[in-house]
Protein backbone atom coordinates (compact mmCIF):
# COMPACT_ATOMS: atom_id res chain seq x y z
CA UNK A 1 0.00 0.00 0.00
CA UNK A 2 1.45 3.34 -1.02
CA UNK A 3 1.07 6.23 1.36
CA UNK A 4 1.57 9.75 0.15
CA UNK A 5 4.59 11.35 1.80
CA UNK A 6 4.77 14.71 0.02
CA UNK A 7 2.04 16.59 -1.82
CA UNK A 8 2.55 19.94 -3.53
CA UNK A 9 -0.34 21.66 -5.27
CA UNK A 10 0.03 24.88 -7.22
CA UNK A 11 3.12 25.77 -5.19
CA UNK A 12 4.50 29.24 -5.92
CA UNK A 13 7.47 30.80 -4.16
CA UNK A 14 8.63 34.36 -4.67
CA UNK A 15 11.93 35.59 -3.27
CA UNK A 16 12.38 39.36 -3.33
CA UNK A 17 9.60 39.73 -5.90
CA UNK A 18 11.08 37.15 -8.27
CA UNK A 19 9.16 33.94 -8.92
CA UNK A 20 11.50 31.07 -8.07
CA UNK A 21 8.89 28.34 -8.24
CA UNK A 22 5.72 28.72 -10.23
CA UNK A 23 2.62 26.54 -10.02
CA UNK A 24 4.43 23.36 -9.04
CA UNK A 25 2.32 20.29 -8.42
CA UNK A 26 3.62 16.85 -7.67
CA UNK A 27 3.42 14.15 -5.08
CA UNK A 28 5.84 11.63 -3.67
CA UNK A 29 4.70 8.25 -2.41
CA UNK A 30 6.22 6.08 0.24
CA UNK A 31 9.20 4.19 -1.17
CA UNK A 32 9.80 6.61 -4.05
CA UNK A 33 13.30 7.67 -4.96
CA UNK A 34 12.79 11.03 -6.66
CA UNK A 35 15.56 13.05 -8.27
CA UNK A 36 15.06 16.78 -8.73
CA UNK A 37 17.27 18.09 -11.53
CA UNK A 38 17.54 21.47 -13.22
CA UNK A 39 19.90 24.38 -13.74
CA UNK A 40 21.18 26.67 -11.01
CA UNK A 41 18.48 29.13 -10.06
CA UNK A 42 15.84 26.66 -11.17
CA UNK A 43 14.41 26.48 -7.67
CA UNK A 44 15.72 23.09 -6.54
CA UNK A 45 17.13 24.23 -3.24
CA UNK A 46 14.11 26.50 -2.69
CA UNK A 47 11.86 23.47 -3.11
CA UNK A 48 13.88 21.63 -0.44
CA UNK A 49 13.65 24.64 1.87
CA UNK A 50 9.88 24.68 1.42
CA UNK A 51 9.66 20.97 2.22
CA UNK A 52 11.77 21.54 5.35
CA UNK A 53 9.57 24.40 6.50
CA UNK A 54 12.41 26.94 6.19
CA UNK A 55 10.67 28.83 3.37
CA UNK A 56 6.98 29.72 3.31
CA UNK A 57 5.21 29.33 -0.04
CA UNK A 58 3.71 32.48 -1.56
CA UNK A 59 0.68 30.49 -2.63
CA UNK A 60 -0.39 26.91 -3.15
CA UNK A 61 -0.30 24.13 -0.62
CA UNK A 62 2.40 21.77 0.56
CA UNK A 63 2.09 18.90 2.96
CA UNK A 64 4.70 16.52 4.29
CA UNK A 65 3.33 13.43 6.04
CA UNK A 66 -0.07 15.14 5.80
CA UNK A 67 1.06 18.11 7.90
CA UNK A 68 2.55 21.55 7.29
CA UNK A 69 6.23 21.29 6.35
CA UNK A 70 8.54 21.52 9.34
CA UNK A 71 6.05 19.94 11.73
CA UNK A 72 7.38 16.41 11.48
CA UNK A 73 11.11 16.84 12.18
CA UNK A 74 11.38 13.38 13.75
CA UNK A 75 10.32 11.69 10.50
CA UNK A 76 12.41 13.76 8.09
CA UNK A 77 16.18 13.58 7.61
CA UNK A 78 18.05 16.39 5.89
CA UNK A 79 21.47 16.39 4.26
CA UNK A 80 22.57 19.93 3.39
CA UNK A 81 24.62 20.62 0.29
CA UNK A 82 27.70 21.79 2.08
CA UNK A 83 28.28 22.65 5.61
CA UNK A 84 30.29 25.78 6.11
CA UNK A 85 31.68 25.44 9.56
CA UNK A 86 34.74 26.34 11.47
CA UNK A 87 37.42 23.69 10.85
CA UNK A 88 38.58 24.29 14.42
CA UNK A 89 35.16 23.52 15.93
CA UNK A 90 35.83 21.19 18.87
CA UNK A 91 33.52 18.37 17.85
CA UNK A 92 34.06 14.69 17.12
CA UNK A 93 32.43 12.93 14.17
CA UNK A 94 30.41 10.85 16.65
CA UNK A 95 29.06 13.94 18.41
CA UNK A 96 28.16 15.55 15.09
CA UNK A 97 26.19 12.46 14.05
CA UNK A 98 24.55 12.33 17.48
CA UNK A 99 22.95 15.70 16.68
CA UNK A 100 20.79 13.84 14.18
CA UNK A 101 18.91 12.46 17.21
CA UNK A 102 17.95 15.87 18.54
CA UNK A 103 14.59 15.88 16.75
CA UNK A 104 13.60 12.83 18.81
CA UNK A 105 14.48 14.43 22.15
CA UNK A 106 12.71 17.01 24.24
CA UNK A 107 14.60 19.91 25.83
CA UNK A 108 16.24 18.90 29.17
CA UNK A 109 16.71 15.35 27.86
CA UNK A 110 20.28 14.21 27.34
CA UNK A 111 21.53 11.80 24.67
CA UNK A 112 21.08 8.24 25.92
CA UNK A 113 22.88 4.98 25.25
CA UNK A 114 20.25 4.17 22.63
CA UNK A 115 21.01 7.47 20.88
CA UNK A 116 24.71 6.64 20.84
CA UNK A 117 24.00 3.19 19.43
CA UNK A 118 21.82 4.67 16.67
CA UNK A 119 24.57 7.16 15.82
CA UNK A 120 27.18 4.37 15.75
CA UNK A 121 24.89 2.33 13.50
CA UNK A 122 24.49 5.30 11.13
CA UNK A 123 28.28 5.66 10.98
CA UNK A 124 28.56 1.95 10.16
CA UNK A 125 26.01 2.38 7.35
CA UNK A 126 28.08 5.10 5.68
CA UNK A 127 31.33 3.24 6.39
CA UNK A 128 32.88 5.74 8.78
CA UNK A 129 32.96 3.76 12.05
CA UNK A 130 36.73 4.03 12.21
CA UNK A 131 36.58 7.83 12.18
CA UNK A 132 34.03 8.19 15.01
CA UNK A 133 36.46 9.91 17.35
CA UNK A 134 38.15 12.08 14.77
CA UNK A 135 37.74 15.84 14.96
CA UNK A 136 35.18 16.90 12.36
CA UNK A 137 37.49 19.55 10.93
CA UNK A 138 40.01 16.85 9.98
CA UNK A 139 37.67 15.07 7.54
CA UNK A 140 38.03 15.12 3.77
CA UNK A 141 35.18 16.41 1.59
CA UNK A 142 33.79 12.94 0.92
CA UNK A 143 34.07 11.89 4.57
CA UNK A 144 32.29 15.06 5.67
CA UNK A 145 29.51 14.46 3.15
CA UNK A 146 29.03 10.92 4.44
CA UNK A 147 29.07 12.22 8.01
CA UNK A 148 26.22 14.57 7.10
CA UNK A 149 24.32 11.62 5.63
CA UNK A 150 25.00 9.63 8.81
CA UNK A 151 23.69 12.53 10.89
CA UNK A 152 20.43 12.44 8.92
CA UNK A 153 20.24 8.63 9.20
CA UNK A 154 20.85 8.65 12.96
CA UNK A 155 17.35 10.08 13.41
CA UNK A 156 15.95 6.99 11.62
CA UNK A 157 13.93 9.11 9.17
CA UNK A 158 11.13 7.88 6.92
CA UNK A 159 11.87 10.63 4.40
CA UNK A 160 15.41 11.63 3.42
CA UNK A 161 15.98 14.98 1.69
CA UNK A 162 19.40 15.51 0.13
CA UNK A 163 20.73 18.70 -1.45
CA UNK A 164 23.41 17.85 -4.04
CA UNK A 165 25.22 15.30 -1.85
CA UNK A 166 27.77 14.65 -4.62
CA UNK A 167 28.54 18.27 -5.52
CA UNK A 168 31.95 18.41 -3.90
CA UNK A 169 33.28 14.86 -4.10
CA UNK A 170 35.36 12.89 -6.60
CA UNK A 171 33.78 10.42 -9.06
CA UNK A 172 34.64 7.37 -6.97
CA UNK A 173 33.02 8.85 -3.87
CA UNK A 174 30.05 9.82 -6.02
CA UNK A 175 29.50 6.15 -6.90
CA UNK A 176 29.88 5.19 -3.23
CA UNK A 177 27.22 7.70 -2.21
CA UNK A 178 24.80 6.58 -4.94
CA UNK A 179 25.31 2.93 -3.98
CA UNK A 180 24.56 3.90 -0.40
CA UNK A 181 21.35 5.69 -1.43
CA UNK A 182 20.41 2.68 -3.53
CA UNK A 183 20.59 0.53 -0.38
CA UNK A 184 18.72 3.09 1.71
CA UNK A 185 15.77 3.37 -0.68
CA UNK A 186 14.54 -0.01 0.54
CA UNK A 187 13.83 1.45 3.96
CA UNK A 188 12.93 5.08 3.28
CA UNK A 189 11.54 7.56 0.80
CA UNK A 190 14.27 9.66 -0.81
CA UNK A 191 14.16 13.04 -2.53
CA UNK A 192 17.47 14.04 -4.05
CA UNK A 193 18.44 17.39 -5.57
CA UNK A 194 21.28 16.90 -8.02
CA UNK A 195 23.12 18.04 -11.12
CA UNK A 196 24.16 14.51 -12.05
CA UNK A 197 21.62 14.21 -14.85
CA UNK A 198 23.56 11.29 -16.28
CA UNK A 199 24.24 9.11 -13.28
CA UNK A 200 21.01 9.71 -11.49
CA UNK A 201 18.62 8.04 -13.92
CA UNK A 202 20.22 4.67 -13.20
CA UNK A 203 19.16 4.77 -9.59
CA UNK A 204 15.97 6.74 -9.14
CA UNK A 205 12.38 5.81 -9.72
CA UNK A 206 11.32 9.25 -10.95
CA UNK A 207 12.92 12.46 -12.16
CA UNK A 208 11.53 15.94 -11.61
CA UNK A 209 13.02 18.53 -13.97
CA UNK A 210 12.81 21.91 -12.40
CA UNK A 211 13.26 25.27 -14.03
CA UNK A 212 10.81 27.55 -12.25
CA UNK A 213 7.88 25.56 -13.57
CA UNK A 214 8.51 21.91 -14.12
CA UNK A 215 8.46 18.94 -16.38
CA UNK A 216 7.98 15.61 -14.70
CA UNK A 217 8.99 12.22 -15.90
CA UNK A 218 7.27 9.28 -14.34
CA UNK A 219 10.04 6.76 -14.73
CA UNK A 220 13.55 6.82 -16.11
CA UNK A 221 12.43 4.39 -18.81
CA UNK A 222 10.62 7.28 -20.47
CA UNK A 223 13.87 9.22 -20.43
CA UNK A 224 15.16 8.41 -23.95
CA UNK A 225 16.46 11.45 -25.76
CA UNK A 226 16.16 13.32 -22.51
CA UNK A 227 13.85 15.91 -24.07
CA UNK A 228 12.60 16.97 -20.70
CA UNK A 229 16.08 17.54 -19.38
CA UNK A 230 17.08 19.41 -22.51
CA UNK A 231 14.08 21.65 -22.14
CA UNK A 232 15.09 22.82 -18.69
CA UNK A 233 18.85 23.07 -19.19
CA UNK A 234 19.89 25.99 -21.39
CA UNK A 235 23.09 24.20 -22.40
CA UNK A 236 23.94 20.82 -24.00
CA UNK A 237 23.37 17.94 -21.60
CA UNK A 238 25.08 14.58 -21.77
CA UNK A 239 22.65 11.86 -20.98
CA UNK A 240 23.09 8.20 -20.35
CA UNK A 241 19.89 6.49 -21.28
CA UNK A 242 19.07 3.12 -19.81
CA UNK A 243 16.95 0.67 -21.66
CA UNK A 244 15.91 -2.24 -19.56
CA UNK A 245 16.81 -4.70 -22.31
CA UNK A 246 19.81 -3.06 -23.96
CA UNK A 247 21.76 -1.62 -21.07
CA UNK A 248 23.54 1.73 -21.19
CA UNK A 249 23.46 3.83 -24.33
CA UNK A 250 25.14 7.20 -24.32
CA UNK A 251 23.31 9.93 -26.17
CA UNK A 252 24.14 13.57 -26.30
CA UNK A 253 22.42 16.65 -27.50
CA UNK A 254 24.23 18.09 -30.53
Amino acid sequence: MNHEVIRCEGLCVELGGVAVLRDLSFSVDEGDFLAVVGPNGGGKTTLLRVLLGLQKPSSGSVSVFGAEPGNTPGRTGYVPQRLFFDRDFPLSVMDAVLMGRIALKTPFQRYSKADREAAAEALRTVGLSSLANRRIGALSGGELQRTLIARALAGEPELLLLDEPTASVDPEMKTTIYDLLDRLRKSMTILLVTHDTGTVSRFVSRVLCLNCSMVQREAPSSFPGGRAVEQVYPYPVDLLVHHADRGLQPTSKP
Binding site: L52, G53, L54, G70, P73, G74, T76, Y78, P80, L83, F85, D86, D88, F89, P90, L91, S92, D95, A96, M99, G100, I102, A103, K105, P107, F108, Q109, R110, Y111, N133, R135, R151, G155
Partner: protein, 273 residues
Protein backbone atom coordinates in the same frame (compact mmCIF):
# COMPACT_ATOMS: atom_id res chain seq x y z
CA UNK B 1 51.45 38.42 48.58
CA UNK B 2 50.64 35.07 50.16
CA UNK B 3 50.93 36.50 53.65
CA UNK B 4 48.91 39.58 52.66
CA UNK B 5 46.27 37.25 51.27
CA UNK B 6 45.42 36.11 54.77
CA UNK B 7 45.80 39.56 56.24
CA UNK B 8 43.58 41.58 53.93
CA UNK B 9 39.96 40.81 53.14
CA UNK B 10 40.08 42.78 49.87
CA UNK B 11 42.81 40.47 48.56
CA UNK B 12 40.89 37.36 49.54
CA UNK B 13 37.80 38.74 47.83
CA UNK B 14 39.83 39.53 44.74
CA UNK B 15 41.09 35.96 44.53
CA UNK B 16 37.60 34.53 45.03
CA UNK B 17 36.17 36.92 42.42
CA UNK B 18 38.85 35.86 39.93
CA UNK B 19 38.12 32.18 40.43
CA UNK B 20 34.34 32.58 40.36
CA UNK B 21 34.38 34.84 37.28
CA UNK B 22 36.55 32.28 35.49
CA UNK B 23 33.77 29.69 35.66
CA UNK B 24 31.28 31.85 33.73
CA UNK B 25 34.05 33.08 31.50
CA UNK B 26 35.17 29.57 30.49
CA UNK B 27 31.66 28.23 29.86
CA UNK B 28 30.16 31.19 28.01
CA UNK B 29 33.43 32.27 26.39
CA UNK B 30 33.55 28.87 24.65
CA UNK B 31 30.16 29.51 23.05
CA UNK B 32 31.19 33.05 22.12
CA UNK B 33 34.26 31.69 20.33
CA UNK B 34 32.74 28.72 18.52
CA UNK B 35 29.62 30.64 17.48
CA UNK B 36 31.71 33.71 16.60
CA UNK B 37 29.58 36.19 18.50
CA UNK B 38 32.37 38.17 20.11
CA UNK B 39 31.19 41.46 18.63
CA UNK B 40 27.66 40.92 19.96
CA UNK B 41 29.15 40.25 23.38
CA UNK B 42 31.08 43.51 23.15
CA UNK B 43 27.86 45.29 22.21
CA UNK B 44 26.00 43.84 25.19
CA UNK B 45 28.88 44.82 27.50
CA UNK B 46 29.01 48.43 26.35
CA UNK B 47 25.23 48.80 26.36
CA UNK B 48 25.37 47.65 29.97
CA UNK B 49 27.09 50.92 30.84
CA UNK B 50 23.64 52.48 30.58
CA UNK B 51 22.65 50.15 33.43
CA UNK B 52 25.44 51.49 35.62
CA UNK B 53 24.19 55.01 34.96
CA UNK B 54 20.70 53.85 35.86
CA UNK B 55 21.98 52.33 39.09
CA UNK B 56 23.70 55.57 40.09
CA UNK B 57 20.68 57.64 39.15
CA UNK B 58 18.34 55.49 41.23
CA UNK B 59 20.83 55.34 44.06
CA UNK B 60 21.00 51.53 44.10
CA UNK B 61 23.90 49.07 43.72
CA UNK B 62 24.90 49.62 40.07
CA UNK B 63 24.90 45.84 39.56
CA UNK B 64 21.12 45.86 40.04
CA UNK B 65 20.89 48.41 37.26
CA UNK B 66 23.25 46.48 35.01
CA UNK B 67 21.54 43.08 35.17
CA UNK B 68 18.16 44.13 33.70
CA UNK B 69 19.81 46.60 31.34
CA UNK B 70 22.22 44.07 29.83
CA UNK B 71 19.51 41.39 29.59
CA UNK B 72 17.36 43.90 27.72
CA UNK B 73 20.27 44.75 25.42
CA UNK B 74 20.88 41.05 24.71
CA UNK B 75 17.26 40.34 23.78
CA UNK B 76 16.87 43.59 21.80
CA UNK B 77 20.05 43.12 19.73
CA UNK B 78 19.16 39.47 19.13
CA UNK B 79 15.56 40.19 18.09
CA UNK B 80 16.46 43.19 15.93
CA UNK B 81 19.00 41.27 13.92
CA UNK B 82 16.88 38.11 13.65
CA UNK B 83 13.40 39.43 13.09
CA UNK B 84 13.49 43.06 11.98
CA UNK B 85 15.83 42.64 9.02
CA UNK B 86 18.37 44.97 10.58
CA UNK B 87 21.94 43.96 9.80
CA UNK B 88 23.44 42.44 12.95
CA UNK B 89 26.46 44.75 13.05
CA UNK B 90 24.19 47.79 12.65
CA UNK B 91 22.05 46.69 15.59
CA UNK B 92 25.14 46.03 17.69
CA UNK B 93 26.77 49.35 16.79
CA UNK B 94 23.64 51.32 17.58
CA UNK B 95 23.10 49.68 20.97
CA UNK B 96 26.81 49.89 21.80
CA UNK B 97 26.89 53.68 21.47
CA UNK B 98 23.38 54.47 22.71
CA UNK B 99 23.94 52.39 25.85
CA UNK B 100 27.11 54.28 26.67
CA UNK B 101 25.43 57.60 25.91
CA UNK B 102 22.49 56.75 28.19
CA UNK B 103 24.98 55.91 30.95
CA UNK B 104 26.81 59.20 30.61
CA UNK B 105 23.56 61.19 30.65
CA UNK B 106 22.15 59.34 33.68
CA UNK B 107 25.39 59.77 35.62
CA UNK B 108 25.41 63.46 34.66
CA UNK B 109 21.88 63.83 36.02
CA UNK B 110 22.89 62.25 39.31
CA UNK B 111 23.85 64.88 41.88
CA UNK B 112 27.37 64.60 43.28
CA UNK B 113 30.47 62.90 41.98
CA UNK B 114 30.46 59.31 40.73
CA UNK B 115 33.53 58.01 42.52
CA UNK B 116 34.35 54.60 41.08
CA UNK B 117 33.05 54.99 37.56
CA UNK B 118 36.46 54.19 36.20
CA UNK B 119 36.42 50.83 37.93
CA UNK B 120 33.30 49.78 35.98
CA UNK B 121 34.92 50.73 32.69
CA UNK B 122 38.29 49.10 33.32
CA UNK B 123 37.58 46.90 36.31
CA UNK B 124 39.02 46.92 39.75
CA UNK B 125 39.04 43.49 41.24
CA UNK B 126 40.55 44.83 44.48
CA UNK B 127 37.33 46.64 45.35
CA UNK B 128 34.89 43.73 45.06
CA UNK B 129 32.79 43.70 48.23
CA UNK B 130 31.62 40.45 49.83
CA UNK B 131 28.01 41.12 48.75
CA UNK B 132 29.02 41.16 45.11
CA UNK B 133 30.82 37.85 45.59
CA UNK B 134 27.54 36.25 46.58
CA UNK B 135 25.87 37.73 43.53
CA UNK B 136 28.63 36.27 41.35
CA UNK B 137 28.09 32.84 42.97
CA UNK B 138 24.37 32.99 42.15
CA UNK B 139 24.98 34.13 38.56
CA UNK B 140 27.62 31.41 38.10
CA UNK B 141 25.13 28.83 39.29
CA UNK B 142 22.43 30.06 36.88
CA UNK B 143 24.86 30.02 33.96
CA UNK B 144 26.23 26.56 34.72
CA UNK B 145 22.78 25.07 35.37
CA UNK B 146 21.18 26.44 32.19
CA UNK B 147 24.18 25.39 30.11
CA UNK B 148 24.00 21.88 31.53
CA UNK B 149 20.23 21.65 30.92
CA UNK B 150 20.39 22.90 27.34
CA UNK B 151 23.84 21.70 26.31
CA UNK B 152 22.59 19.74 23.31
CA UNK B 153 20.50 22.65 22.01
CA UNK B 154 23.32 25.16 22.48
CA UNK B 155 25.75 22.80 20.74
CA UNK B 156 23.29 22.29 17.87
CA UNK B 157 22.75 26.01 17.24
CA UNK B 158 26.47 26.70 17.56
CA UNK B 159 27.51 24.06 15.04
CA UNK B 160 24.75 24.13 12.42
CA UNK B 161 21.84 26.42 13.16
CA UNK B 162 19.85 25.55 10.02
CA UNK B 163 19.99 21.85 10.84
CA UNK B 164 18.89 22.58 14.40
CA UNK B 165 15.95 24.56 13.00
CA UNK B 166 14.77 21.76 10.71
CA UNK B 167 15.19 19.34 13.62
CA UNK B 168 12.53 21.27 15.48
CA UNK B 169 14.84 23.14 17.87
CA UNK B 170 13.52 26.60 18.73
CA UNK B 171 16.70 28.22 17.47
CA UNK B 172 15.78 31.88 18.01
CA UNK B 173 14.67 31.15 21.57
CA UNK B 174 17.91 29.35 22.43
CA UNK B 175 19.97 32.01 20.68
CA UNK B 176 18.30 34.69 22.81
CA UNK B 177 18.85 32.57 25.92
CA UNK B 178 22.52 32.25 25.02
CA UNK B 179 22.78 36.03 24.58
CA UNK B 180 21.16 36.46 28.00
CA UNK B 181 23.77 34.14 29.53
CA UNK B 182 26.43 36.28 27.84
CA UNK B 183 24.81 39.34 29.43
CA UNK B 184 25.02 37.73 32.89
CA UNK B 185 28.65 36.81 32.26
CA UNK B 186 29.34 40.41 31.29
CA UNK B 187 27.88 41.52 34.62
CA UNK B 188 30.25 39.17 36.45
CA UNK B 189 33.32 40.12 34.42
CA UNK B 190 32.59 43.81 34.75
CA UNK B 191 33.87 43.65 38.32
CA UNK B 192 37.05 41.89 37.28
CA UNK B 193 38.16 43.59 34.08
CA UNK B 194 35.52 46.24 33.36
CA UNK B 195 33.12 46.84 30.49
CA UNK B 196 35.72 47.89 27.95
CA UNK B 197 37.94 44.87 28.55
CA UNK B 198 35.24 42.18 28.97
CA UNK B 199 35.47 41.06 25.39
CA UNK B 200 39.10 39.98 25.74
CA UNK B 201 38.43 37.73 28.72
CA UNK B 202 35.38 36.25 26.97
CA UNK B 203 37.36 35.30 23.89
CA UNK B 204 41.06 34.78 24.65
CA UNK B 205 40.96 31.86 27.15
CA UNK B 206 38.38 30.01 25.04
CA UNK B 207 40.25 30.70 21.81
CA UNK B 208 43.43 29.22 23.29
CA UNK B 209 41.51 26.26 24.73
CA UNK B 210 39.92 25.49 21.37
CA UNK B 211 43.32 24.67 19.90
CA UNK B 212 43.77 21.80 22.32
CA UNK B 213 40.29 20.32 22.76
CA UNK B 214 38.14 17.89 20.86
CA UNK B 215 34.85 18.58 22.62
CA UNK B 216 33.04 21.67 23.76
CA UNK B 217 32.94 20.40 27.36
CA UNK B 218 36.72 19.97 27.48
CA UNK B 219 37.11 23.40 25.90
CA UNK B 220 34.97 24.95 28.65
CA UNK B 221 37.03 23.27 31.35
CA UNK B 222 40.37 24.34 29.88
CA UNK B 223 39.10 27.87 29.17
CA UNK B 224 37.97 28.14 32.82
CA UNK B 225 41.41 27.07 34.04
CA UNK B 226 43.19 29.45 31.66
CA UNK B 227 40.92 32.29 32.67
CA UNK B 228 41.64 31.61 36.35
CA UNK B 229 45.36 31.47 35.59
CA UNK B 230 45.33 34.80 33.74
CA UNK B 231 43.19 36.48 36.39
CA UNK B 232 45.34 35.33 39.33
CA UNK B 233 48.59 36.06 37.51
CA UNK B 234 47.29 39.47 36.46
CA UNK B 235 46.22 40.16 40.01
CA UNK B 236 49.66 39.23 41.30
CA UNK B 237 51.44 41.38 38.70
CA UNK B 238 49.18 44.36 39.41
CA UNK B 239 49.78 43.95 43.15
CA UNK B 240 53.57 43.73 42.77
CA UNK B 241 53.95 46.52 40.23
CA UNK B 242 51.03 48.65 41.37
CA UNK B 243 49.22 48.49 38.01
CA UNK B 244 45.51 48.53 37.17
CA UNK B 245 44.35 44.94 37.82
CA UNK B 246 41.93 44.62 34.89
CA UNK B 247 44.44 45.90 32.37
CA UNK B 248 47.18 43.66 33.79
CA UNK B 249 44.93 40.59 33.39
CA UNK B 250 44.08 41.45 29.80
CA UNK B 251 47.67 42.22 28.78
CA UNK B 252 48.78 38.88 30.26
CA UNK B 253 46.00 36.98 28.47
CA UNK B 254 46.74 38.76 25.22
CA UNK B 255 50.46 37.95 25.49
CA UNK B 256 49.68 34.29 26.10
CA UNK B 257 47.36 34.30 23.07
CA UNK B 258 50.08 35.79 20.88
CA UNK B 259 52.63 33.34 22.23
CA UNK B 260 50.48 30.26 21.61
CA UNK B 261 49.67 31.31 18.07
CA UNK B 262 53.26 32.20 17.27
CA UNK B 263 54.38 28.81 18.62
CA UNK B 264 51.69 27.08 16.58
CA UNK B 265 52.76 28.93 13.44
CA UNK B 266 56.44 28.10 13.99
CA UNK B 267 55.69 24.42 14.66
CA UNK B 268 53.48 24.22 11.57
CA UNK B 269 56.10 25.78 9.31
CA UNK B 270 58.87 23.60 10.72
CA UNK B 271 56.75 20.52 10.09
CA UNK B 272 55.79 21.79 6.66
CA UNK B 273 59.40 21.93 5.56
Amino acid sequence: MTADLFAYEFLRNAVFASLLASIACGIIGSYVVVKKIGFISGGIAHTAFGGIGLGYYLGINPLFGVIPFSLFAAVAIGLLSRKARVAEDTAIGAFWAVGMAAGVILIGLTPGYAPNLFSYLFGNILTVPADDLWMIVILDFCIAALTWLFSKEFLAISFDEEYAEVSGVKTTLFYLLLLCLIALTVVILMRVVGIVLVIALLTIPAAIARLFCRSLGAMMLLATMLSALFSLAGLWVSYQLDLASGAAIIVLAGSAFLLVHTARFVIASVRGR
